[in-house]
């Protein structure tokens, strides 16, 4: 979930100067339309790590819009009055009415995360909170509240830098006390708890927008534009539109940087090194597959990637290493008639391996948020809810004793062109290239955006995506084998 938000983003001054006045004007206009129409309230939730610029951003929103019509509230320890009433009472007291914009800091999501990080809550109790929060937000959403949730993220390194900077400036020194450094020490635990909570409360009707807070200009423009898009989208679709079909839209990063573009595709492995590494990791995988512990687990690999990224080749390097009786590659094409008569996850469930077996999905359930989204084979509501459905599905896999390894094989647009041309020229490869491949290529940007959203919403601490730089086949194949071995070994250790 936080992978995407860990990318370094930056917006330069010139862009800021160009974008800011436009955004400001549009936000103010949107605010007044909402106010005049009085059809729905807008509730912005702000969460995230210390020092990620939450306060600064909200101050800016106040500057940009008319602060008289914004109700901002920071929830700290409950007052005497609040303690004497049900826990949610204090939030209800502050809800913005139709037409107004409310901004809540540290609302109902703060306490569960802190309590979990400090081990006051078991995982089951945390999930109980998650479910309460989801039902509450669903109700708000069904009642017409436009919920826009921002999570401000910093990597550990970024947070340290930021706290140090604040501490060394006499104007901001007061903001960094013992408490802040204590929390920093708990970064990893807080981050784990946050990741789980943010992911589980990122629903189709009220997803979180995770924003990297290190660069002020990037952060502010991102929040401003996302908020604007959410409001405009709702104004357009009308007040009566119900929540589930109408989640705020996802925007691509405003500075054009994303996890895919951040990859270093120049990485290579010489043929000589490749032969050695291949032998090493295939040998290791083979040993693992004959380990007694392997009988108690199943292995599920997911391969997704650009067309011609070399999925087949990478898969073959795995199958070569394991006894053919125990491994099964499962190519996923268009669903059969029988499969279309079932919920979309059905065709993957039917192929799940039993313990002691390996299944390799060559394309997978992620088709729903990739090709089906881009080609509009399913409705926006369907792919928006799919992120959570997929996370639930993968949780079931993990709880059911599966090791899950998910690979995105990435090549550059130029490399793809080269490979397509090569396929057309080589007689025995010609079957691998069709008009559809060329058509897909034209939608490169749309696919890239879908891939980033997918990674953002489905790369979890238990089932992370591995992004594989695949311009060099040697490098890609070894990275895949190595990652797979390590994933299995980690799970063995946890048994």
């Amino acid at each position: 979930m936080f992978d995407t938000a860990s990318i370094a983003h930056e917006v330069d001054k010139a862009t800021w100067k160009k974008e800011e006045p436009k955004l400001r004007q549009s936000l103010l206009a949107a605010q007044f339309t909402v106010l005049q129409k009085k059809e729905f309230p807008v509730l912005v939730l702000i969460g995230g790590v210390e020092g990620a610029g939450k306060g600064e951003t909200v101050n800016l929103l106040h500057e940009w819009m008319d602060p008289r019509h914004i109700i901002t509230h920071a929830f700290d320890a409950p007052t005497e009055d609040e303690v004497a009433r049900p826990a949610m009472w204090r939030f209800w007291q502050r809800l913005p009415p139709k037409g107004r914009l409310g901004i809540f800091f540290g609302a109902w999501h703060s306490q569960p995360i802190v309590d979990r990080a400090l081990k006051h809550l078991s995982r089951a109790e945390l999930d109980q909170r998650v479910s309460e929060v989801n039902r509450f937000e669903k109700m708000l959403s069904d009642e017409g509240v436009l919920l826009v949730k921002f999570w401000f993220h910093l990597t550990k390194k970024q947070q340290r830098k930021r706290l140090e900077a604040l501490a060394s400036d006499k104007h901001t020194r007061w903001r960094v006390g013992e408490n802040e450094w204590e929390l920093f020490k708990k970064y990893d635990r807080l981050s784990d708890a946050s990741e789980h909570f943010v992911r589980s409360t990122s629903t189709g009707w009220a997803p979180w927008y995770v924003v990297n807070g290190a660069d002020g200009r990037y952060r502010s423009l991102t929040v401003g534009k996302t908020l604007l898009a959410a409001i405009e989208d709702r104004l357009e679709s009308g007040a009566s539109s119900t929540s589930s079909t109408n989640a705020p839209p996802l925007l691509p990063p405003i500075d054009g940087r994303n996890v895919i573009r951040a990859l270093d595709l120049k990485q290579k492995l010489s043929d000589e090194r490749y032969d050695k590494e291949l032998e090493k990791w295939q040998g290791r995988l083979n040993l693992l597959s004959r380990d007694e512990k392997f009988r108690r687990l199943s292995v599920v690999c997911v391969f997704e990637g650009n067309d011609a990224a070399g999925k087949g080749g990478a898969i073959r390097r795995i199958t070569q290493a394991i006894d053919a009786r125990y491994i099964r590659p499962i190519p996923i094409a268009a669903p059969t008639e029988e499969e279309r008569a079932q919920p979309y996850l059905w065709r993957f469930w039917r192929h799940l391996p039993r313990h002691g077996r390996v299944a390799i999905f060559d394309r997978s359930w992620y088709g729903r948020v990739l090709v089906e989204r881009v080609e509009k084979y399913c409705s926006e509501a369907a792919w928006m809810r799919a992120y959570q459905e997929i996370n639930d599905f993968e949780d079931e896999l993990l709880n059911g004793g599966s090791v899950l390894a998910k690979f995105w094989l990435a090549i550059s647009k130029e490399e793809q062109f080269r490979r397509f041309k090569d396929r057309e020229r080589t007689p025995f490869k010609r079957f691998k290239i069709t008009d559809e491949d060329w058509r897909n290529r034209k939608k490169w940007e749309a696919y890239e955006r879908a891939v980033c959203d997918m990674i953002d919403r489905t790369s979890t601490e238990e089932a992370p995506w591995t992004l594989v730089e695949a311009n060099d086949k040697n490098f890609a194949r070894v990275k895949v084998l190595k990652t797979l071995c390590k994933t299995i070994e980690d799970r063995f250790d946890a048994l």
Copy 2:
């Protein structure tokens, strides 16, 4: 939740002979339409207590419809194949495809209930299961599966009778072994766990239909007609209709009996007895309100009832007993403009009392599933989801230290007529009777149905409805006071 299903129901032979052939024909026709259209699958979930006729009913469905197109599956202990895969795998394997009817016995709801009753699961863990089940069923429903869930209920007495009957017949003796009697001993624990689970998984998109299983003819006609109505409703609204707006309809009990009609409205209290009882219970309530424990709790009373049922009088008997500084009656009328600009529960949250205080709601949040439903002030989807929202809300009240007492004051239609006429005749009462009262009266049956559904879906073990026979005001007032005292005392004991 099980109150309504504890009413004795009976369908006589003559009615059965008249109804059964029609129902049979319609079900078969509906089954074939579903089969031909192939737009959605129908999945019937069967749960409930032993001996409540689950098997018999499903056998009958097989007789009534074409069994070649029904996929029935009873889930027992998982097989070796199933154990080696994620827990949900065995259910996915059996899902009916579009056009087919599937019947699942003891699917994903059985294990959590048993585990909770045997204390293998904590309450938090049970709620984790609940949330998984709800997300799973939401997904099925979003994917177009028509889910119809039946819970077969027997009271403890009915279950004993039924098991004894089975055991004494040589043809059915084999069905009642040690295991069945062991489970019977755990009736209360199982019932508590079931009640919680059934209520929490009774969602707007897939509610449970709780059916009393004691009378075979009643049970079968109820299940058959509910299933038929669900299928016909979906056929009418089309395959593309999404779950949240399209829960299967609620039918009134086919034999016309319900919790309201089952009340003995002839109950009376002489004026003499009344004076004594009133003094006793008002004194007790006053003592309770001055107890030290009262500072740690708040008391929330809900009064609903037929027009002219005497809510005001009953409320005054409570306020008389408590220091006016600590008690506040809250009459709920049409929402103000400010209140209409907020989610519908907002206007109740704002009046919640702090610890040490009492709030008496004269009409309440139940308006949504009563007047708003009957008068169509809100959409069907809105009042269908309101049951769960209200249950969530009341859970928050209870967890936040509120004592909750909910009263439905019931009078007969004749008694209401008498009171209306009396009001019209008596000058100082004339303000209490309006044209609207007469209009509402014309919808007596619709209101009665709404009341029964409300009690069915919101009378929980922690916050039960108290039905008050109110034809006699003396009797009603004393019953209210007595119930309130006992509710507070129970909560004191648990502190």
